[in-house]
Amino acid sequence: MKPFAYRRATDARSAVATVAADPDAAFLAGGTNLVDHLKLGVACPSLLVDVSDLAADLVEHLPDGGLRIGAGTRNSDLAAHPVVRAHYPLLSEALLSGASGQLRNAATTAGNLLQRTRCGYFRDATAPCNKREPGSGCPAVAGHNRHHAILGASPDCVATHPSDLAAAMVALDATAVVLGPDGERRVPIGGLYRLPGDDPTRDTVLAHGELITAVELPAPFGGRARYRKVRDRASFAFALVSVAAAVRMHDGVVEDLRLVFGGLAHRPWRAAHAEDALRGSAPTEVALRAAADAELLDARTLSGNGFKVPLARNTLVSVLRELTDGAAEPEDDA
């Protein structure tokens, strides 16, 4: 591990000024991803600015009925927060499906959103990887790619975003409050993450030195919501496929809905085609399956992840069946 200096930030502005001025500096929060990367040689900063004390434990009501979550709020505290459980259960479910009790006690809201891919080649500093070493190639395309993307990938990178929280935040239409050297800006989480394209080194649209200070949720969407995660073991594993869904019904018809896939792409995947197909329709079994198929029409599979297409389709249909309640039971096993 390369030696580094450590500084504990006392205010956001000076933390931003310090990191923005030094290309080799990085923010440190709970450390559960970054310390891992320091050990693996995936990250080699020369200065760590610890922001974990900033905006910790801060969850406040907004005048519009929404909620402001401090970037340093720990995953476990957020999941257990009574207002979150009562009004944004999707968020609690997503958080509690991720990592372990010990990790959630340390992990922060911003750190979770900005955790990096679990691609095994990315995490192996001796392997080529375009995300870590631009231009070195992507061994996952023809290698071990069971966990990799089926939507929105590029020939340069087929990694997936691992965060459960991120998928839920997109479904909740959350916005990140971001402080940069030139002041504050607001970035909808739906637009925070990038597709890899020809520059997989950047996961998000944030510039070096930009600090997430808070995440704001709009007033609750209403209706019913569910986070369902499918993985290799019952607990303590990353998603193969996950679905964050919120559905509002009226008179047997889907009034409005938000559908987001985790585990399928370089970013949480808003299933806009499926949403469009169902909005204003009766959620019959046929309609649910057609909506899922519409979203997965553009799926491109690799040697090891073809299973994700039916898994994603069936998971989405099953979650929608539960949330819409009115849909008929499946007529067959197809």
Binding site: P3, Y6, G31, V35, A79, A80, G101, Q102
Partner: protein
């Protein structure tokens, strides 16, 4: 680069100079001789290094010692009091909740954390509705999923934790 830090470990203030790269786990084991927390994976994946920091269970392998300056750290060795082993430790013995014992200090610290979390009403992924969580087998398994046991002592571990939580 070096930093002077103080950790309150198992009730005792310990001053130590650490390289900033040192994890809390390595500071405890290699610098302070506190070997109760074990290094299994060193990547947050096994839970054998679990300690309580300011009363909350965390994995000490993914925490930098310098970032914990001033913290109160409780390891499995510090759970006992004047009356002898902690109730969780006694229950582990009574329920055969270990074989080789390597994972046990982490299991025990994690279990103490779980009991506090349940008492505080924290939900888990298997908690139904808003009711106060009850320590069923499913709840214990879910809440303890960050602690692996290669000897497979899980049935005893679940029984021990349910016994103390009852």
């Amino acid at each position: 680069m070096e930093a002077d830090i103080t950790l309150r470990v198992d009730g005792e203030d310990r001053k130590v100079t650490v390289d900033t790269r040192t994890t809390l786990l390595d500071a405890l084991r290699d610098r302070l001789g506190v070997t109760a927390p074990k290094k299994g994976c060193d990547h947050g994946q096994c839970g054998s290094c679990t300690v309580l920091v300011d009363g909350r269970r965390v994995v000490s392998c993914l925490s930098l010692a310098v970032a914990r300056d001033g913290a109160e750290v409780t390891t499995a060795a510090g759970l006992a009091d004047a009356d002898g082993p902690h109730p969780v430790q006694r229950a582990f013995v009574a329920n055969d909740a270990l074989q080789c014992g390597f994972c046990t200090p982490g299991q025990v610290c994690s279990a103490v954390g779980v009991l506090a979390e349940v008492k505080a009403g924290w939900p888990s992924a298997v908690t139904e509705g808003d009711a106060a969580p009850e320590l069923t087998d499913a709840e214990v398994r879910e809440r303890m999923s960050g602690n692996l046991c290669r000897c497979g002592a899980y049935p005893g571990i679940v029984a021990a934790i349910r016994e103390v939580g009852a």
